[in-house]
């Protein structure tokens, strides 16, 4: 029997499985976390006292929170442009697919495959101070020993560098999928018109990648604000809170000190910050081209 649905109904059916999953394992826990954030909850007392927004107002006077917010923003400002640019460049570089290029592509993608914890531990050792392998290599060039992750000015940029080493492969992959969708005829036509590589990029590739770039920027921003693993593994927020970031602060509060109320409040602040940023990115970038 053939029967057709109202498009609305079809839409709901298409999203139903996803919505069920998102609700059950995303939104319901989220609501629970919100309720927790309104209580003085410490995993002991099932009837934790309701404290209203006290956990939120406490954040305002929490110096570590402000440091974490500043550091996380600085980190995002370093990471997002870096990873996006590197990812796009890599994608453009490995465009024409030959056997050698496939090998290059695999090399650029390789750090993505390694577990984050392992990768972070690896960088910790490579950049150990003052006698780790990297310092040892630099000594060949008579560079004095660097403190790297122990230095309050180098630590955060180094983590950004590490993350972009780890994740640029994903950005590359996403851009590659985008490049693949650009019809070859467009380039052929441009080629006939005698447009050079740079102009082709400016006139065809970049505009057509707009939607993907929007995606990449939004995702990279979200991921940047959620930075946790390398901080957890390598610096634990130090030295001098130079790498104290929001999710690490949240983790420490929630799981080490068992201040679940504070941690939940923190996660909602984080949520609002990122949602605002993402919405802004959508607005700005959509304004440029018809999204």
């Amino acid at each position: 029997m053939r029967w057709s649905l109202r498009p609305e109904t079809a839409g709901y059916l298409f999203v139903l499985p996803a919505v069920l999953g998102l609700l059950a394992f995303g939104i319901i826990p989220l609501i629970y976390a919100f309720v927790v954030s309104l209580h003085n909850y410490d995993l002991v007392n099932p009837r934790a006292p309701y404290v209203g927004l006290a956990n939120y107002t406490a954040l305002a006077t929490d110096r570590v929170f402000w440091t974490a917010l500043r550091n996380t923003s600085a980190y995002a400002l370093m990471l997002v442009p870096l990873q996006t640019a590197v990812g796009l460049s890599l994608a453009l570089m490995v465009q024409p697919s030959t056997r050698w290029i496939a090998l290059l592509r695999a090399s650029y993608f390789m750090p993505v495959v390694v577990s984050y914890v392992v990768a972070a531990g690896l960088w910790e050792i490579l950049f150990a101070a003052p006698n780790g392998p990297m310092n040892s290599l630099l000594a060949l060039a008579h560079v004095p020993p660097q403190l790297f992750f122990q230095d309050r000015h180098q630590a955060l940029p180094l983590i950004a560098l590490m993350s972009s080493w780890k994740w640029s492969g994903i950005t590359m992959l996403i851009y590659l999928s985008g490049l693949h969708e650009i019809p070859a005829e467009l380039y052929e036509a441009a080629g006939v018109d005698g447009a050079g590589g740079l102009r082709q990029f400016g006139n065809i590739t970049w505009p057509l990648l707009h939607r993907i770039t929007l995606f990449v920027l939004v995702v990279n921003t979200i991921e940047a604000f959620k930075i946790f693993t390398p901080v957890y593994v390598i610096t634990r927020g130090g030295p001098l809170n130079a790498t104290m970031v929001l999710v690490f602060h949240l983790f420490r509060e929630g799981f080490r000190y068992v201040h679940l109320g504070d941690a939940s409040a923190l996660s909602f602040v984080l949520l609002v910050v990122i949602l605002t940023l993402a919405t802004l990115q959508f607005r700005v970038l959509r304004g440029e081209s018809q999204g």
Partner: protein, 260 residues
């Protein structure tokens, strides 16, 4: 790795420029691979040698002096590592497969079908993507426990589907596909399912592959959730097993709060 095979050959280059470009690409590849190569080569060393030749720099900083497969032998001997690998493989494959199916359907609707609440739904997807997993860990555990799933594959697989990231990525791609295709299909009598199945999916093969691959790798690397949601060693995944190798008493890798 050959995910895209695009014909967009952008620029024909002059000889010198091509060489410089090739050199640059190679240098980059070395930067990307070197740390991992170092790690791999270290794994071929006897335990006592791993950190022996780090300073000052010499050939032996990189190359093992006495190569051995001891580390791997230990790994396989001391642990039911095959079981852990199988668990990781099962979990990562299932999540990847379910996720790409569920996410692509949702993404299609979000990109192509107009229905009330679509924007709200997209907002929901973003929200789930943003909230740090650490904030959800306890409630998620309580839900899974209520379902009676602790220590089961269901606990490792079901809550991970769908990934908001996949929905978002696929939605962006589907939106980029020309609308004319839908219209043509509709004229040919296709309904939404037909368009999704016969047009969207075949046209998005590269990105579907990317999504599957990325989900697989994400799940393969996941650690916190498997640790919390399973107790039984039979359910252990590779990352949890590996995490305990470098830790514990007598291990120099981590500083325990107590070391007694």
């Amino acid at each position: 790795m050959n995910l895209t095979s695009s014909g967009t050959n952008i620029r024909p280059r002059s000889g010198l420029l091509a060489h410089v470009a090739a050199g640059g690409k190679l240098a980059l590849a070395i930067i990307f691979v070197f740390p991992l190569a170092w790690m791999f080569l270290s794994s071929l060393r006897p335990v006592a040698e791993i950190f022996q030749y780090i300073f000052p720099f010499s050939l032996w900083t990189v190359v093992p002096l006495h190569a051995t497969l001891d580390s791997y032998r230990h790994l396989l001997r001391d642990e039911p590592f095959g079981r852990y690998l199988a668990n990781s493989l099962i979990v990562a494959s299932c999540v990847a497969a379910f996720d790409v199916a569920v996410s692509s359907m949702a993404a299609y609707a979000l990109a192509r079908i107009r229905f009330a609440g679509r924007e709200a739904l997209f907002f929901l997807v973003l929200t789930v993507m943003i909230i740090p997993f650490e904030a959800l860990l306890v409630p998620l555990y309580l839900i899974v426990r209520w379902l009676g799933w602790v220590d089961s594959y269901a606990a490792l697989i079901v809550p991970m589907v769908p990934r908001a990231f996949s929905i978002f990525l696929l939605r962006q791609f589907f939106r980029g596909l020309p609308r004319e295709l839908d219209d043509a299909a509709r004229i040919d009598g296709c309904r939404d399912w037909g368009i999704y199945w016969h047009i969207m999916l075949p046209l998005s093969r590269p990105v579907l592959l990317s999504v599957t691959l990325l989900t697989f790798q994400e799940m393969w690397g996941s650690f916190t959730w498997p640790l919390v949601s399973t107790n039984n060693a039979n359910m252990r995944v590779v990352q949890v097993a590996v995490a305990s190798f470098g830790q514990g008493d007598g291990s120099p890798r981590r500083s325990p709060s107590c070391c007694s």
